[in-house]
């Protein structure tokens, strides 16, 4: 156990370092985009007025409010301080809303879309992949090419095709948003059904790609396992096929769990395209808007959430592997 504690702290230290690096990049990268966000705010306010001191005064008051008159290092440390107090700042493009508020609402939409979709896609994909490997024949000849096909369509194209066919052409599903604009959010059947109606297309698009990718991986791992010595030996011993299949499944699914953890960790970043295509009100949409509007706090906030999710998922994964696989732990602690 002592060894594991060392492993834990070593890993923790590296992740902490990565976290600070992410904070640093979050802060400085948006500021490399050319353009002056304050002049955009002021020009919208003052559009169509004559040249004057008033404009300068308004401009200055916003610069001071956002602290942009201070040197970058001071702004940076202030930002770090605020992050640790859980304050992501005031949005420029949605002034005076706070980034916490906007992203707090958005993340609920993102997670409730992505999490179930990834889980469902992962389970179905692994079951199908395993089935393709065991049953072979017709099953393998259809599932494998279909999975390969779905997986090789770029995701945005798949999403747009789904939207066009089922939303625009057939008109079965709405073409955007989280719910109808004629409804007020409430716990009513009408509203819940409406939300599910809007939920379906983005959900199915994620499930489809996840199935494709998982099925291919699972099929290959299973075929590999099926050709190992222990399977041949078990068969010779006369163990039932069902039993052997469960051994194979357990061994084949291990690397797939890594895949699951990574997709869960990256789900908020991965949400970007889904949300843009389907106009879904999640974090990805706000990140995209933030970039287009030079909204530094909004970009910083969304990328920070994405970075943290990825880091946490990877950290948990490392810990789990450290616990269950002594080889990894040993190798890692020796290196470090």
């Amino acid at each position: 156990m002592k060894e594991f504690t060392r492993y834990f702290f070593q890993k923790f230290f590296w992740y902490l370092l990565a976290f600070f690096l992410a904070l640093f990049l979050n802060f400085f990268l948006p500021r490399l985009i050319p353009g002056d966000p304050i002049s955009v705010i002021v020009s919208k306010m003052m559009s169509g007025t004559v040249a004057s001191e008033t404009q300068e005064r308004v401009y200055q008051s916003f610069v001071e409010e956002f602290g942009l008159d201070k040197p970058l290092p001071i702004q940076f440390f202030k930002y770090i301080g605020n992050v640790f107090r859980g304050d992501l700042g005031t949005s420029f493009s949605l002034y005076p809303l706070s980034v916490n508020e906007v992203l707090g609402n958005a993340i609920v939409w993102t997670i409730s879309l992505q999490f179930p979709a990834i889980i469902v896609g992962w389970i179905l994909g692994n079951l199908l992949g395993a089935a393709a490997a065991y049953r072979k024949g017709f099953f393998d000849k259809t599932i494998f090419p279909v999975a390969l096909f779905v997986n090789s369509i770029p995701y945005y194209a798949l999403a747009i095709i789904l939207l066009y066919v089922f939303g625009v052409y057939l008109g079965w599903f709405p073409i955007g948003g989280g719910y109808s604009r004629t409804l007020l959010p409430s716990w009513s059947w009408a509203f819940v059904i409406d939300v599910l109606h809007h939920y379906f297309l983005p959900f199915i698009s994620i499930v489809l790609v996840t199935i494709g990718g998982q099925a291919i991986g699972m099929r290959e791992m299973s075929i590999y396992e099926l050709n190992t010595d222990y399977v041949t030996y078990s068969k010779m011993l006369g163990i039932k096929d069902k039993k052997i299949q469960s051994y194979v499944f357990k061994n084949a699914v291990l690397p797939q769990i890594t895949g699951l953890a990574i997709s869960l960790g990256t789900m908020i970043g991965g949400a970007l395209i889904t949300e843009i295509v389907f106009g879904y009100p999640g974090v990805g949409t706000w990140l995209f808007n933030g970039i287009r509007q030079l909204d530094y706090p909004m970009i910083q906030g969304s990328t920070l959430i994405i970075a943290m999710m990825v880091l946490i998922a990877n950290f948990i994964l490392d810990m789990v592997y450290g616990l269950i696989d002594p080889r990894i732990k040993a190798a890692q602690t020796e290196e470090g």
Binding site: G35, I41, E64, T182
Partner: protein
């Protein structure tokens, strides 16, 4: 026994659930007017002092539903429509007297008085709110409870902008906002952050519900203006709903389907809706140009960048542009023929427009004339690649022309500009960066050519347009931010004329001044209009509501229930 209990529990929760779920959540369609095209992001605040870019109630020239202004401007005839202000008149060269309607009161029953008016304007003196009136004003004070005097600075009077300002500032209830000020320690940054949920104004509607998807306003049944301004009538619509669409296409589709009743979105080929699809849709005119021209999106030159600093080059470009193609392809024919003038030949300012001078000295689409200017006036020769080269070896281009990405009609217009120019031998490339970058380039002067509208219709036109296009005083050097005269044009005589104008009251003298300015403009051509656009687009769908104003029934200007177009709320009737 255990099983029975579980079943019972399930049933009970279902019944309870449905009871909870049963509450009404939908706005009755026949009681609501749906509008679109004013808000493209979530509502962020209802504080009119926040001045942020996306505040629904913050534009006093348009959204006078909750808070009201003294007057509102009717661009059709160039006159003010009284709201809180009953009348106004100039007492002398420096003092403007405004009478406040004594019948007016706020939603909480408190009367609207001269004190509220003085208070609202003085906020702009206390804080940097963008209220420009204080550049020209010495003081605002009350004479009695319903009379206010605006007194200008004797050394810098500007009656045009003061008249403009009495139609462009919300009158806020002092008894509420003075408390807000005090609670926030008179600190503007804190006052700006104040969210102002449930704003108390004096207008005919109040906030009912807001979300990132929709804004819903509810009628104020005891609105003072029903009695005082509308003969005791109430607006028929109990709710005004503004769905927030993510894109123009989404909004247009909703409008076509009757989900939106009136819209200010740009809708391509609107006539097809009634001519081909037989929908109960209308605009102001039922034939070309369908809308009333009112502003002029223009191409601006960076006049200090050689060879664009040569007026002949600028003129050759102006001659090369195929304006009718822009109107037809980019604007769906919504723009009448563009004239070589900074004065709009329509509405209140048409009286200053001099058609003969425009014909004699102006430009129009004429590629041969463009080539003649290049070859004869400038002595340029055509290079092997078909682009002209000046005698000193300067090639005419590549110049870039830019505007924000996604402004589809503008993008298309600039593509036509580039094609037109290349056809005569000037190399122009288009560039469509994201809006903040295009804004920044425009304001800092970092461009060859850019596209922008020199100010919206107002009582101060066409003076304001000349000011924004030509005036150089107070405009900083290239590299620093300017909010007007983006190309940094300089002409002392023009500056002087622009300084003179706002003090002149004699109409004949005024016309002479404008004519003189327009001539300077035509000689130097620091920018030129590409199209005429309506103040706001205006299209209505009569599926649910009838009684909309149009050219045949012009009781209100073509604005979708905003500004002076608010009048329509009292004329609408549910469709049978």
């Amino acid at each position: 026994m255990k099983k029975v209990f579980v079943v019972f529990l399930l049933l009970a929760s279902l019944v309870m659930g449905s009871a909870l779920f049963a509450q009404v959540t939908q706005i009755p369609r026949e009681e609501a007017v749906y509008v679109a095209g004013f808000q493209w992001g979530p509502p962020t605040t209802d504080n009119p002092l926040a001045g942020g870019p996306m505040t629904f109630v913050s534009d006093p020239r348009q959204h006078i539903w909750i808070y009201e202004t003294l007057f509102t401007w009717d661009a059709l005839n160039g006159k003010y429509v009284p709201i809180l202000g009953e009348s106004y008149r100039w007492l002398d060269d420096l003092r403007l007297e405004v009478k406040v309607n004594p019948k007016a009161y706020f939603h909480d029953g408190e009367p609207v008085t001269a004190d509220d008016v003085v208070y609202s304007y003085k906020l702009g003196q206390k804080y940097p709110l963008g209220l420009q009136i204080w550049e020209w004003l010495k003081d605002v004070y009350k004479v009695d409870n319903h009379t206010v005097i605006f007194e200008m600075k004797p050394d810098n009077p500007n009656r045009l902008m003061v008249e403009d300002a009495i139609g462009a500032t919300f009158i806020l209830p002092e008894h509420i906002w003075s408390k807000v000020e005090a609670e926030n320690n008179y600190d503007l940054t804190k006052i700006r952050q104040f969210r102002n949920e449930n704003p108390v104004g004096s207008g005919p509607y109040k906030v009912f519900y807001e979300s990132p998807e929709t804004i819903i306003l509810e009628r104020v049944d005891n609105y003072w203006g029903n009695e005082a301004l509308h003969g005791g009538k109430k607006p028929a619509a109990k709710y005004i709903v503004h769905p927030i669409f993510k894109s123009n296409d989404e909004g247009s589709l909703a409008f076509e389907n009757g989900e939106v009743d009136v819209s200010q979105q740009f809708t391509p080929r609107i006539w097809e809706m009634w001519e081909k699809k037989g929908l109960p849709v209308g605009t102001w005119y039922d034939e070309i140009p369908y809308y009333v021209p009112s502003s002029m999106p223009s191409l601006w030159f960076n006049v200090n960048k050689y060879p664009l600093s040569l007026p002949e080059v600028r003129k050759a470009i102006a001659y090369s542009v195929n304006y009718s193609r822009i109107s037809e392809l980019a604007m769906s024919n919504y723009s009448p023929k563009v004239q070589a003038s900074l004065i709009l030949p329509y509405g209140g300012e048409a009286k200053y427009f001099d058609e003969n001078l425009v014909k004699q000295y102006g430009w129009e689409y004429n590629p041969k004339e463009a080539v003649r200017i290049l070859e004869e006036d400038l002595g340029a020769t055509k290079g092997r690649d078909g682009i002209y080269v000046l005698p000193d070896g300067t090639r005419l281009g590549p110049f870039t022309v830019e505007c924000p990405y996604g402004w589809t009609d503008w993008n298309a217009s600039l593509q036509i500009v580039a094609q037109s120019a290349r056809a005569v031998g000037i190399d122009i490339q288009t560039s469509f960066p994201d809006a903040p970058i295009a804004y920044d380039n425009r304001q800092t002067g970092n461009f060859d050519m850019t596209m922008w509208t020199p100010s919206q219709p107002s009582p101060a036109q066409p003076w304001l347009r000349f000011q924004i296009a030509l005036y150089s005083k107070g405009v900083p050097e290239v590299g620093q931010i300017a909010y007007s005269n983006f190309g940094r044009y300089r002409n002392e005589w023009a500056d002087q004329l622009i300084d003179m104008n706002p003090k002149v009251t004699n109409e004949k003298e005024l016309k002479n001044l404008y004519t003189e300015l327009d001539q300077i403009y035509r000689e130097d051509i620091p920018m030129f209009p590409l199209m005429y656009r309506p103040q706001t687009f205006y299209e209505y769908n009569e599926t649910y509501w009838t009684g909309w104003a149009n050219a045949k029934n012009p009781y209100a200007p073509p604005m979708p229930l905003v500004g002076a177009g608010m009048e329509m709320l009292w004329h609408l009737e549910p469709a049978k």
